[in-house]
Symmetry: C2
Subunit: 335 residues, 2 copies
């Protein structure tokens, strides 16, 4: 069995025990269909299988390719594309998968596109305060009526309080989530249906209104979510890198991972015991309080945001102890 | 022939005429071996073939995979891996390619690793002021001696003034580049060899010391480099996206490209005539001065930094007029 030392760097590595802790913690808090894991966070069918095995039947996706891949892998019991799609080829492919596909719509145009392509089920996506997709709450009933008139089965509503999920103060997060959900409740009254699909990792136990939580980051976590002191999930994913250069006079070292192995929208990654100066395409430059590492040393670089980090990698290696127990293909990248 | 309207979005699109302008401009200013195009910027063998066809014989690479891919494609006349590598498997693969491979070394350890793997040629990488790889100028001679004692042919020196290439003030850029090159000149005196490999797109005509310029961004450009008023290169690359949601009350619209189709280290992308609010995984939210676009409209999203943008995409489509004349595979991604 390979060890960490055998991996060519940069390499995406999952700590298997921590992943297990995170999956178990979520499945205990939100068992079965109460959690609809978001696949966009990891884009990896093998990890979705783990989430299915622990009881989560349905999945949330952000792209057509994620839906199609999961269905091909036999994970198509209840797939939600939590995003608006207008491309007729993609919609036709989604309508043809071997599985149950529900799609978000937030306008007559997106409902028409879904109906025209033969999609059978939808949720009405409602804006609950974050400036992104989702209709106004007062328009939700009209859009649901339109969708039903076009032959779609409207299963309920969706609303994502994404502007709150990373709020460090839990009391404020919980209170403001409740305010957002009041908008969604109003929309749901007009729309009807059994499904109220909401939330993310940061509100998994703050959102008391949804019937299901669309949490993705909880499985692997990142330094941005790790700032929330109340979350029981732990960082399970790092980029393994090699120190390729050390500058003793200036007091810094260089690891061989950078902008093409780390999503940067939430800032630079972290290295335990070090200060990261900056990243360039294939480099992370850092200093440490004490003695600098040696050329050839390996270290763990913790990404600030896992979603765009993982999307750069072809594989993730699963570590159990010091051994690489499995290597998973990040097979759901692209669109 | 497909048109822009036929592409599934998000899609990476190259304006063919602008690319041609950029390639011709560079090949006129720095013909043949005076420019050693940096492949990390585009990671696309088909585009490297265009750079070869216009006269550039050698290429700069940042990863083993870029070198190996170019050699396999018959572009291995003179390949420089402008980065330190310690992985013995990667080094052995590099030593075995059908082509000429030169590798950067900046320490005894990296020179030893190259020699042990059967690499035949190297450059001594010298730090000229940017905190990243490269030995101190005063250590360059010692490292060259060590490399030669280990059987490596030392072709010369390399020094990258990366902290200056995006300086808007041309006079300051040129002056400070000269100061950096004074360090490299000192190192070159001690090292010897014919090659002095330097620079980037921003200093392609400010660096008067190097024998060759490692420019990459010039071919496709981005909004960050486009801030430099003296550069004759024009933005040739955009992400084609579809408007999937419009919020008339709040005055914004949402395009279906985001953190997984755009490198974010240089900030948010630009949309002509619009203000970009932020990006999330699969969304770019923006407002416009006048009337908002319609759901279904397509638009061009200009990346702030092409290198980490292109690394997310499987293909780039080459536009001539309104037609997609070719689709290139971004085949050199990964490590």
């Amino acid at each position: 069995m390979a060890s960490l030392e055998d991996l060519t760097t940069p390499a995406l590595v999952v700590d298997g025990d921590t992943l297990e802790h995170n999956l178990t913690t979520m499945a205990t808090a939100l068992p079965g269909a109460r959690c609809r894991p978001h696949i966009k966070a990891h884009k990896t069918t093998a990890l979705a299988h783990r989430q299915r095995a622990i009881g989560h039947v349905g999945f949330t996706c952000a792209t057509a390719r994620e839906i199609i891949g999961l269905a091909r892998a036999g994970l198509g019991d209840d797939l939600l594309l939590a995003n608006e799609v207008l491309d007729s080829e993609q919609l036709a492919a989604l309508a043809g998968v071997d599985g149950r596909v529900t799609i978000a719509v937030d306008s007559e145009v997106t409902a028409d596109a879904a109906a025209d392509a033969g999609i059978r089920e939808c949720l009405v996506d409602v804006n609950v305060g974050m400036p992104r997709c989702g209709c106004l709450p007062e328009d939700a009933g009209r859009i649901a009526d339109h969708a039903r008139a076009r032959g779609l089965d409207v299963r309920g509503v969706m609303g994502y309080e994404g502007h709150l999920v990373d709020m460090v103060d839990r009391a404020a997060r919980e209170e403001q989530t409740a305010e957002c959900m009041a908008h969604l409740a109003r929309a749901h009254l007009a729309v009807g249906g059994d499904v109220i699909s909401v939330g993310g990792t940061g509100t998994y136990d703050c959102n008391h209104f949804g019937t299901e939580i669309q949490a993705g980051s909880y499985a692997l976590m990142d330094t941005h979510y790790a700032r929330l002191p109340d979350l029981p999930f732990r960082r399970a994913l790092f980029v393994l890198a090699t120190v390729i250069s050390v500058n003793q006079r200036e007091g810094f070292a260089v690891a061989n991972c950078g902008l093409k192995s780390l999503g940067m929208d939430h800032g630079t990654p972290e290295i335990d015991g070090a200060t990261v100066w900056y990243c360039s395409d294939e480099h992370t430059v850092f200093s440490v309080g004490g003695e600098l590492p040696n050329v050839g040393d390996r270290l763990r670089v913790w990404p600030a945001h896992i979603d765009p980090t993982i999307a750069y990698h072809e594989h993730m290696h699963v570590l159990v102890g010091e051994d690489v127990a499995e290597t998973w293909t990040v097979d759901l990248r692209g669109w």
